[in-house]
Structures are given as C-alpha cells and as structure tokens.
C-alpha cells in the first residue's frame, strides 16, 4: 500500500477528481442560479406581456446557454471518473451509490435536456405558456439532478441505510428512503443549490451594474437588479440557515471535520467559535504541544451551541478524537484511534476468515466470522489505516476555507440588503460606488462556493466513505503516469474551455440586450 508509486497514484487520482469537481462547480451554480432568475423573469413577461421583459429574459438566457454546455461536459467526466479512477469504490459501495446516479440520469437529465431545447429554439414555435413551462422545467431538471448527486455525496459523508454483505464483499442498500432523505442530504441539497442561487444573483446584479456603470440600458439593468436582488437576499439568508444545519450534521457525524474546521485540538464543554484566527505554522502534529494559534479571537460558547444546540456541551477536539476516553452522548466511552484501528483490522480479518470458510463450506466457521465481522463492522475502514495521524485532515486548509466561506456568506446578506435598499430608496444609476462593489462581488460568489466544497471534501479526508473506506483503498489500480497524463489533458482542455467561455461571455454581455 504505502509504496511511493501508490501514494503518487492516490494523489494524482485525487488531483484529477478535484480538478474536475472544481471546474464543474464553476459552471453548475451559475446554471442553477440563472435558471431560477430567468424563470422568474419569464413569468413576469408571461403575466404582464411587456416586451422588455421578454428581451431581458432572452439576454440572461443567452448567457445561461453559454455557461450550460461546459457544466454538462464536466459532469459527464465526473460521473465516469467514479469508475475510471475509483474502481474499488465503485464495487464496494456501488450498490448504494449507483442508484442516485442512475435516477439522476433518468429523472433529471432528460427533463433538463428536453426542455432546454424548447427553451432556446421554441420562442417562435410553441405557445407562450408551453415555453414558460419549459423554462421552469429546465431549471427544475437541473435542481433535481443536484438533489440526486448531493444525495450520493451526503451518503459518502454519512453512510446510512446499508449492510455489509461478506459474500459479495460490498455494502448493500437496505433502506432507500434513509439514503434519499438523510438529514445530511437534505441540508447539503438546500445549502448547495441555494448557494447557486446566490451566485446567480451576484452574477446578474454584477453584470447589470456594469451596464449602469457604462450608462447604457439603464431600465433593463434596474429591473434585472430588482429580480436578482430579491432572489439573492432570500437565498443568502437561507444559505446561512442551511449552513447552520450542515454544521450541526457535521458535528454529529464527522466530528473530526468539525475539529479541523475550528482547529480545535483539545475539546471543552464551553467551546468558542473562532471569529478570527491565525494558525501557527509550527504546529506539525496533533500532540506535539505547540499552540495551534498565533492569534485567536473567539465568540464564547458559540461552537458548543452550534454543534450541540445547548451550552455547556462537550465538543471533542482532534486530540480527544485520537485519544478517545471522553463520554459520548449515548453514555459510552469514546474509543481511541488505536482501538478503532484494532477493531477495523479485526473486521477485515473476520471478512477474510469468512471468505475462506465459505470456499471450504464450513458453516460453523462462517457463522463465527460473520459474528465478529458484524461486531466490528462500524470500524471496517479503520483497519486500513496504518497510523492514527492519518486520521487528521489538513487543518489549515479546512480552517481557512471555512472562514472564507462563512465570512463571504455574511457579506452577501449585507450586500443584497444594501443593494435592495438603495435600489428602492435611491437612484442606483448615480451611485458609482455600489455599482463597483456589485461588479467586484461576482468573483467572491465563486470563491465562497469553492471554499465550501474544499471544507466538505478535504475536511473528510482520509475517508472517501466516512469510517468505511479510506481514499487510498478506493482507487483504481493504474499506473500513476496514466492518471498524471489524463490530469494534464483535462487541465489543458478545461482551461481552454473556460478561457473561451469567459471571452464569449464578455462579448455577449457587451452586446447587451436586444434593442
């Protein structure tokens, strides 16, 4: 396992998946956000019959179209990469993980791709009502696909509704509803989709303010700002709310991720939330006694409150999680990392014993092995861990990215409230400063979304499936060189595509709405 080539294979496989996911998440949130905003705009057109709303809708729809295709393209790669780069994973949990992906295709993608064609080419060919329905259905299709892929992602963070079957050497689904509606999935869905709405709203307000800045198409820009401003305000408040829900889920199911998000090494009953902090780069290991912070300003008790909904409440730190011994909520004592690793090895050994007994058709041994396996199954993945330190994710990355996401989230609420206030009470066309702020806020929306995914995905390392399968064991057995080559091909391809898209987008924006 730990030979040099293998580590580089795992790293390159992760790099390739991360690259695809990062690029995918550049395009998808804008698709989700613009889909809602153009549907709202077209509804206004349908209701009022005013031609300028049709032109407004069509302008944003054009930008939607430019953005859409790359989201689809990177999504295709992402889906197939589960097979190409995470072969073990695909078998070990494919029985659960495959279903949402298939449902996504059957239920959501077809809806999206059918009605997007009507939406773009049907203006003169179908009735106004059917066209409006198609615009909504395109957005609903995109949102449904987000539902299913986030169900799949949430399941990796918090595997539920399955049992391990040693005969087939995999986890098998036992409760579909538990998988499809786990609280982790529900929170993740609303949090991610609504962050897409925020981005869409930032994009529309930013671009509209550019028109104001250039003193052209003012009426169009102001009406776009109204629609997007309200969408953005509602969405950013909801994002904060679902973010709190997601945080609670992480505290319950992935305490190590939470500890890394807060750089909390030693837990307490009255844990404060770090409002602002600078980490000490000299901190190398959890138990080296080095103070993790150079500077730390906290909101007292807040972390306990967010994580457990009460004060005082114990929030375990990284050292507590590694050393165990603290009392869990069900009254039992937390196991140390070493004990978990021990039990994981027992589970894997029992699995091997079971397979051996099964080929020899030795019923008694099979039964014994199955019993040991069941007892230790919750720790199965720990059996592959060589050293407890591997269980700690990259703390600085998770810590800082979490702060970037949260602070920007707060800023967006402030931004949209200010913008709406000014647009209703003052003359936006003359306020250069807010126009500039709106334009500069567009990239911040992208940054916040990416930072959120870094927290979610890097914060759960070393797990590809929490407690069950470490990333290193999930990987396809390829030579690192092949994966490295495809990584650079994708990097080049995606970057060219992105550059082309940005240029096309800028030109299309410059053209402005139809006159």
């Amino acid at each position: 396992m730990n030979t040099l080539t293998d580590i580089s294979l795992i790293d390159w496989s992760r790099a390739q998946f991360a690259l695809t996911a990062i690029y995918h998440w550049i395009f998808v949130p804008l698709t989700l956000g613009l889909a809602l905003i153009i549907a709202l705009m077209e509804t206004i057109y349908y209701r009022t019959g005013r031609e300028e709303w049709k032109k407004t809708t069509r302008f944003w729809m054009k930008l939607f179209g430019i953005n859409f295709a790359i989201g689809v393209a990177t999504g295709l790669i992402l889906e197939f990469e589960f097979g190409t780069n995470w072969s073990n994973y695909s078998w070990f949990v494919g029985d659960i993980f495959g279903a949402p992906l298939a449902i996504e295709g059957i239920v959501a993608f077809f809806m999206e791709s059918t009605f997007i064609a009507v939406m773009f080419f049907g203006w003169e060919k179908v009735s106004k009502r059917f066209h409006l329905a198609s615009t909504w259905l395109t957005g609903i299709g995109a949102t449904l696909s987000a539902w299913w892929i986030l169900v799949a992602n949430a399941w990796m963070q918090n595997p539920v509704g399955m049992v391990f079957n040693p005969d087939t050497a995999r986890n098998e689904m036992a409760d579909f509803l538990a998988v499809a509606t786990s609280p982790m999935a529900v929170n993740k869905f609303f949090h991610s989709v609504m962050s897409g709405w925020v981005l869409g709203a930032l994009f529309v307000t930013g671009v509209s303010c550019w028109f104001l800045w250039r003193r052209q198409d003012k009426a169009f820009a102001l009406s776009s700002i109204r629609v997007a401003g309200w969408t953005g305000l509602v969405a950013s408040v909801l994002v904060a709310w679902t973010g709190d829900g997601s945080g609670y889920q992480v505290a319950q199911k992935q305490p190590m991720k939470l500890a890394a998000m807060e750089a909390l090494y030693d837990g307490t009953d009255q844990a404060g939330l770090v409002a602002f902090g600078i980490l000490n780069p000299k901190k190398k290991q959890a138990d080296d006694g080095v103070n993790p912070f150079l500077f730390r300003m906290e909101i007292p008790d807040m972390l306990s409150l967010l994580a457990e909904r009460r004060i005082p409440a114990f929030v375990p730190g990284i050292n507590d999680l590694l050393q165990g011994g603290y009392a869990l909520k069900d009254g039992t004592r937390a196991l140390s990392a070493e004990e978990k690793i021990e039990r994981g090895r027992k589970a894997i050994a029992a699995f091997a014993d079971y397979r051996k007994a099964s080929t020899e058709r030795n019923e008694a041994d099979m039964k014994n092995a199955r019993k040991v396996l069941q007892e230790n199954m919750p720790y199965f993945g720990y059996g592959y861990i060589k050293n407890a330190e591997e269980l700690v994710p990259n703390v600085p990355l998770t810590f800082y990215m979490f702060r970037v996401m949260v602070m920007l989230g707060g800023y967006f609420i402030l931004f949209f409230s200010t913008l709406l206030f000014l647009s209703h009470k003052r003359d936006l066309t003359r306020m250069r400063w807010i126009q500039m702020v709106a334009m500069l806020s567009v990239p911040l929306g992208y940054l916040a979304g990416q930072a959120g995914w870094v927290v979610a995905e890097c914060g759960r390392q070393p797990w590809s499936i929490q407690d069950m399968l470490p990333t290193g064991v999930a990987v396809s057995r390829l030579d690192a060189g092949s994966v490295q080559t495809t990584f650079f091909i994708f990097l080049l391809l995606f970057s060219v595509m992105l550059t082309a898209e940005v240029r096309i987008m800028l030109k299309a924006i410059k053209e402005g709405p139809e006159k």
């Binding site: 396992m1 054009k62 179209g65 430019i66 295709a69 689809v72 393209a73 990177t74 295709l76 790669i77 889906e79 589960f82 097979g83 190409t84 995470w86 072969s87 073990n88 994973y89 078998w91 494919g94 029985d95 659960i96 993980f97 495959g98 279903a99 298939a102 449902i103 295709g105 059957i106 239920v107 993608f109 999206e112 059918t114 997007i116 064609a117 009507v118 080419f121 049907g122 003169e124 060919k125 059917f130 087939t168 050497a169 995999r170 098998e172 689904m173 579909f176 894997i348 699995f351 397979r355 092949s482 091909i489 391809l493 550059t499 082309a500 898209e501 240029r503 096309i504 030109k507 299309a508």
Partner: protein, 380 residues
C-alpha cells in the same frame, strides 16, 4: 425473482444501448459535415439540425453509464477502471463536442469556428468507432481479473485489475472490435444522412445526402454482415449453472440465437427495417421518412445483439486472462433490494419518452431551412 430482475435490467441496459447507437446519428451527421455541406449556410443548417438533438445523445450516454453503475456495478468498476484509456478517449471526444455547438458561432470563442467544427467531426468519427470497439468487448472479452476477497489483502486491496499495461488501447488491435466499431460508425452516418433528409428543407443538401447514402449504406451492410458472421463463428463463455463455473463453448452466440429465436427475430427484424429505410430512400427521391425505419431498426437490432451477449447463461464481459473471472449477470449485479428500487424507477421511462416525443414534435413541426438561419432567432 432475483434472476428475473437481473434479466430485466440487462434488457434495460440493452435497450439504452440500442437507443444510444440510434442517437449516434448526431455523431454520424457531424462526420458528414464537410463532405456534404458545401456552403456556409448548408453547414450551418446541418449543425443546427444535429444541434437540437445532441443533448439527447449525451444524456443517453450518461444514463447508460448511470444505469449500468446502478444495476451492474462490477462492470463499472472493472471496465471503466481497467480499460481506462479507451473510456477516457471516448469521454474526451464527447466533451469537445459538448462545447462546440454553443461556442462555434460566438464572437470571442478563442479557437475560431473551424476548430469547433473540427471537434464536431472528430467526435463524429472517433465517438462511434470507439464506442463500437468498447461494446465489441462484450463479445471478444478483455484481459482482467476480479477477486472480491482481495478487499482483505491489506498490502493491495484491489478487486478488479486489468492485466495489461495498455489499459483498453489493446482493444483497438483486435480486428473484430474494429469491425464492429466501423460498422457502428457507418450506421451512424447512414442514420445521420437520413436524419438530415427528414429534418432539413433544402434540395441541394438532400441530393447530396442521398448520394452519400449509397456508399455509406453499402459499407455498413458489408461490415455488419461480416460482424454477424464472425459472431456466429465465435466461441463464447458459458456459465454452468449447477457448478457456478464458466466454460469456453464453441459457437456460443450461434447457440444462443438458436435457443432464443425471439432474439434472432429481433435482430433480423431490426436489420430488415434498416434495409427498408435505406432502400426506400434510395429508390424514391421524394421519400423523406427513411430515418424512422432505420432508427427503429437500429434500436431493435442493437438491443437484440446486446441481449445475446448476456442472456442464456452467457458471460457478458469475458475475461481472457482467466475465464472464471468473467463478468456474468449474476456475479456483477446489484443486490435484490437495489434492483427492485431501480425497477420502480424504470417505470418512469415511458413517461420520460412521452415528454421527449412531445417536446421533440413541437420543435420539429417545421423543418429547418435557410430562411430560419438568416432570421434573428436562437441558433448556433
């Protein structure tokens, strides 16, 4: 019950495969872009004609992958993780295609219109050939081994592993694979030409499509006949149900057709329908509905072919490394529970097809013509 669901899901996979090969008319049509389209307007009409359908091909490819993952995950992990380069090449050509429609006529597109159209042609040629090669491996097999007990091997927990370093590229050196790849490619061109005849209102273009049809149809029929003969003469891997072992069996696929005459009938009907569509179009210059015949025929024949690969105790993904490692419906499928859930989901498919047909119909009511290309509306 479990066996029934496995068979049902193999049918769904085969059907999706059939629909996918039919929808490759988008690729086939694009491969004809520079052969048939002489003027800019003509090329523009062609691109817009396939451009309103490419999403379906793409989505079917994704759904084919997703459904395969959900119903036969061991195939997903073995083939995709093993034949890495083959699948990666397929994906790359489809990714290039996805952006090419939207970007080609836009100002500021970085590479210029010709490059994006070049990508469409590249995908149009390489996509069907490589997919055909990948599908041919259902019959010709591949070099891999599978051992589920390896999850307990702490030094190297690998379930599926390719046993050669070419990771799928070696399949391009097997003549039978290439034969099927080319057959799929020329079938896609036939379907593409017939689709243009039906979808675009332009006499000059229609005449050239008909002219192209002659050669492409002839080559397709020869390749397809060759493939069928090769298949009937091929050995296959048979499952011995009592022992659970896998044996190499001469003329396995011919035997399958003999023992499952309804599948033979399916393939034959499909082939005849394709032939009818081609002949009626070639013989009657005013006939425009050839695509309906060849389309239906393609779905039927390809579905039948894929069924032959998996039904009647046949290993559908033979391992030439060790035939006991071959993938069968039973050893690679999802659990009973998951197959059952997915079966409920599959009941939605007719509903999905119905709204696709409705939406498709409402856009295609009027053919594409050069007038439309000059108007200000949305087009590529």
């Amino acid at each position: 019950m479990y066996t029934c669901l496995q068979q049902y899901w193999w049918f769904i996979i085969s059907l999706l495969g059939g629909i996918l090969v039919f929808l490759l008319f988008v690729q086939g049509g694009n491969s004809l872009l520079f052969c048939i389209g002489k003027t800019e307007t003509e090329r523009r009409m062609m691109v817009n004609s396939t451009g309103r359908k490419w999403e379906f091909t793409f989505t079917t490819l994704v759904t084919f992958g997703g459904a395969f993952f959900a119903s036969f995950p061991l195939f997903y992990s073995t083939s995709f993780g093993g034949a890495y380069w083959l699948w990666m090449l397929i994906l790359l050509t489809f990714v290039l295609q996805a952006v090419s429609y939207e970007f080609q006529s836009r100002a500021g597109n970085l590479l210029g219109r010709t490059a994006y159209r070049g990508f469409l042609v590249l995908n149009g040629v390489a996509g069907p050939i490589l997919l055909g090669v990948a599908v041919a491996m259902f019959f010709t097999g591949a070099e891999f081994r599978v051992d589920k007990a390896n999850m307990a091997d702490m030094s190297m927990p690998v379930i599926s592993q390719w046993t050669n370093g070419w990771h799928g590229l070696e399949a391009l050196a097997v003549w039978k694979n290439v034969l099927l790849g080319l057959a799929v490619f020329f079938l896609a061109r036939v379907n593409g030409a017939l689709y243009f005849i039906n979808n675009i209102d332009n006499t000059a273009l229609a005449v050239r499509c008909r002219r192209a049809l002659w050669a492409n149809a002839a080559i397709f029929l020869l390749l397809f006949a060759g493939w069928m003969i090769a298949l009937l003469l091929s050995d296959g891997y048979a499952i011995v149900p009592s022992a659970g072992t896998i044996l190499q069996q001469p003329y396995k696929y011919a035997t399958n057709l003999q023992e499952m005459p309804w599948i033979a009938a399916l393939i034959l009907t499909g082939a005849l329908a394709i032939l009818t569509g081609i002949l009626r179009t070639l013989l009657r210059p005013s006939y425009e509905h050839g695509i309906w015949w060849t389309g239906t025929g393609t779905v039927t024949a390809v579905t039948g072919l894929l069924l032959v690969a998996g039904y009647n105790n046949t290993a559908y993904y033979p391992s030439v490394y060790d035939c006991q490692n071959s993938l069968t419906l039973a050893n690679s499928c999802s659990s009973l529970f998951t197959l059952r859930v997915m079966t409920y989901v599959s009941l939605l498919i007719p509903f999905v097809l119905a709204y696709i047909a409705y939406a498709w119909h409402s856009i295609d009511r009027k053919k594409i013509n050069d007038e439309e290309m000059k108007e200000g509306g949305e087009h590529y």
